[in-house]
Structures are given as C-alpha cells and as structure tokens.
C-alpha cells in the first residue's frame, strides 16, 4: 500500500512545487509603475489599474526611444 502511495505523493509534490515556481516568476515580472512623492509617500500602480494602463505605454515609448526603436 505504501509503495503505491509513494509515487503519487511525489507527483503531487512536484506539481505543487511547479505551481509555486510559476506563480513566483510570473508575479515578479508583473508590469507596474511606482510613484514616489516628496512627502515620502509611494503609490504602486499595477497593470490593470486605469492609471497604469495610461502610464505603461508611455514607459514603453521611452524605452523604445532609448533603444532607437
């Protein structure tokens, strides 16, 4: 019985590790704009927020301009 369960548990463990790794890598590479103000406050606008939807294309345009694109 234990011998039958072992491969199944290993498979479940590998699946969970794969999901965790995928979430970690995709989460880190999320597009966002961070604004830092003189009063020390900070606002992070993640992709999906209406402000970020306006700012991110402008950031891409700046990158393209710098890279001669």
């Amino acid at each position: 019985m234990r011998r039958r369960l072992l491969p199944l548990l290993a498979l479940l463990g590998a699946w969970a590790a794969g999901i965790a790794l995928l979430r970690r890598t995709t989460g880190r590479r999320r597009e966002r704009v961070d604004l830092y103000f003189e009063d020390g406050s900070m606002q992070s606008l993640s992709n999906g927020a209406p402000e970020a939807a306006r700012l991110l294309p402008l950031a891409r345009a700046a990158l393209d301009a710098a890279r001669g694109g």
């Binding site: 880190r28 590479r29 597009e31 966002r32 704009v33 961070d34 604004l35 830092y36 103000f37 003189e38 009063d39 406050s41 606002q43 606008l45 402000e51 306006r54 700012l55 991110l56 402008l58 950031a59 891409r60 345009a61 700046a62 990158l63 393209d64 301009a65 710098a66 890279r67 001669g68």
Partner: protein, 132 residues
C-alpha cells in the same frame, strides 16, 4: 564635475543602466548617453506629466517596470535624470546611483578666475636687540 562626467561615472559604476539623460524642467538636455536624446527626453516628460495627473503631489521619483525593461526618473528641484535598464533591475541600487549622478552634476562649479594665492605672512623683523 560636469554633467557629462556625472553620466560617464554613472554608466561606469552601474552595469544595469543602459541609457541615461540629464535634463531640466523645460526639457533642455544637459548631458546624455544617447546620440539622439530628444525623443527619449520627450517620452519621459510625457510619462512624468501623465504620472502627475494620476495623483496629486510633488513627484520626485518614478519607476515604470515593463516586461522588456524599466524606466527610472529622479528629480531634484528643476533637474531631472532619467535612465533605462533591462528587466528586473535592482531598484534601490539604480535609484541610489541616479541620485548620486544627479547630485554630482548639480555640484558643477561655475567657471571662475583663479583666486590669488594668499601671501605668506611676513617674517617678524628681528628685534633690534639682536644686533646688541
């Protein structure tokens, strides 16, 4: 230190910075690592204007992170420095290097005449009693 020297130091110190430009609030470029800096500075100014509209307050730093790279902007009064990096930069380190470069460029001394060398203090004449 001149603005050009400040940018040269920045690109030497920070391997993450791909391109950078120093400019003022009017968009006048003081120094740049790019051959054609105007399109980049104009795009950064558009980004800053849109960011200012997004929230009230005096913006002094910005980082826009995209899948292909990041755009950083640091402001000090009317002086700005903008830079681009590849994806996933070390944000705090890039901000630190940009602030250092902006401060160094701001310390650019105005050309002035060499100050006259101070005269060496006159030697006290030996007391008359010396001869005695």
């Amino acid at each position: 230190m001149t603005a050009e020297q400040a940018l040269a130091d920045l690109t030497e110190i920070s391997s993450q910075v791909e391109a950078a430009a120093l400019f003022d609030a009017n968009g006048t470029v003081a120094a740049s690592t790019l051959a054609e800096s105007e399109p980049f500075v104009r795009a950064v100014q558009d980004l800053l204007a849109a960011a200012a509209e997004a929230r009230q307050g005096s913006l002094n730093q910005l980082e826009a992170s995209t899948l292909t790279g990041s755009v950083f902007v640091v402001r000090d009064g009317d002086s700005y420095i903008a830079a681009t990096t590849g994806p996933e930069p070390t944000v705090a380190l890039v901000f630190y290097d940009l602030k250092t470069a902006l401060r160094a460029a701001a310390l650019e001394p105005a050309p002035k005449k060499a100050a006259p060398r101070p005269r060496a203090p006159k030697k006290k004449q030996e007391a008359d009693g010396d001869a005695a």
